[in-house]
Amino acid sequence: MAKLTFATDVCKGCGLCVNACPRGLIVIAKDKINKKGHSPAEITDESKCIGCACCAMMCPDCVITVEK
């Protein structure tokens, strides 16, 4: 069990976290738009997250904080 916090407003929706997640849990929320006009990343099912932080490691904008 892990907890991901997204600083949604600085996300640029680049999607590098999406590919980094070994469990395929992250998606770009196409139906949402943040302050900057990007569709931000979000986690689909946090209960399956193992807190490996691969997503955060690939994020160029320090959007994701990982707790475990």
Partner: protein, 248 residues
């Protein structure tokens, strides 16, 4: 629950101006993580280049200097000579370090100047809109090589790690990449090592980071990382090119 990953203290709260998916952000974070891990934030001074990372002075929370194009190693030399107990790093792109600043780079290396150089190689001039860089690959299409880099007329890309490791003096030279989780982890170690070398007074360390430029390469961020793997890394092999700690 404990925080296992968060933004390092050596970065300010300023949002990065880089394009979506630009790996400058990852490399900034790796530098900042090294500064945090080594507990040197209060005594570090960074030197920003001219190029996409010109505004790095707003992003790192240590003291910062903005240098003229290519001159960061000379500015860093001045800073280090004036303050030998401070940790001085430069953060430079390929045009800055390998074209206009080649003399400064080579001579700082051959003096084994006790500084840390972070060299971001994304094979293009990003800030000015995608011109051919000294590290653009043969055949690579850019704004100023619209028919592909023709090595017969403009020559071959410069392999900085190979070039500098021909010198006797430099202490540590390594090429890493940030196109995958595994490579980012390796890059993190290398950058930390480059700072440790300076703390121990060993001399010149340069970490070349093979990076991407989705916007000017005309690719999605992930496609750009894939191109790093398929095209960049074969031309710029990763690895340690100089490690004087291993020499007798």
């Amino acid at each position: 629950m404990a925080v296992v990953f968060s933004k390092p203290k050596a970065l300010t709260d300023a949002p990065l101006h880089y394009c979506p998916g630009c790996t400058h952000g990852i490399i900034h974070r790796l530098v900042a993580e090294a500064i945090d891990d080594l507990g040197i934030l209060g005594r570090t001074v960074g030197v920003a280049p001219v190029g996409c990372a010109v505004m790095a002075y707003d992003y790192f929370s240590c003291d910062m200097v903005e240098a003229a194009h290519g001159r960061a190693p000379a500015v860093a030399t001045g800073l280090k000579r004036a303050m030998p107990d401070r940790i001085i790093f430069t953060y430079q792109g390929d045009g800055d370090l390998a074209s206009i600043g080649m003399a400064e780079t080579v001579h700082a290396a051959t003096r084994n100047e006790n500084i840390t150089v972070i060299f971001v190689n994304n094979a293009i001039y990003g800030m000015t809109g995608g011109q051919m860089a000294p590290t653009s690959l043969p055949g690579q299409v850019t704004q100023t090589s619209p028919y592909g880099r023709d090595v017969k007329t403009v020559g071959y890309p410069i392999k900085v790690c190979e070039l500098l490791s021909a010198l006797d003096a430099p202490y540590y030279i390594q090429r890493v990449a940030v196109n995958s989780v595994k490579h980012v982890a390796e890059a993190k170690k290398a950058i930390r090592r480059a700072f440790e070398n300076q703390i121990e007074g060993r001399g010149f360390s340069l970490i070349e980071v093979v990076s991407s430029c989705p916007t000017n390469w005309g690719m999605t961020p992930q496609k750009a990382l894939d191109w790093v793997e398929s095209d960049m890394i074969p031309y710029y092999p990763l690895g340690v090119y100089r490690d004087k700690s291993k020499e007798a």
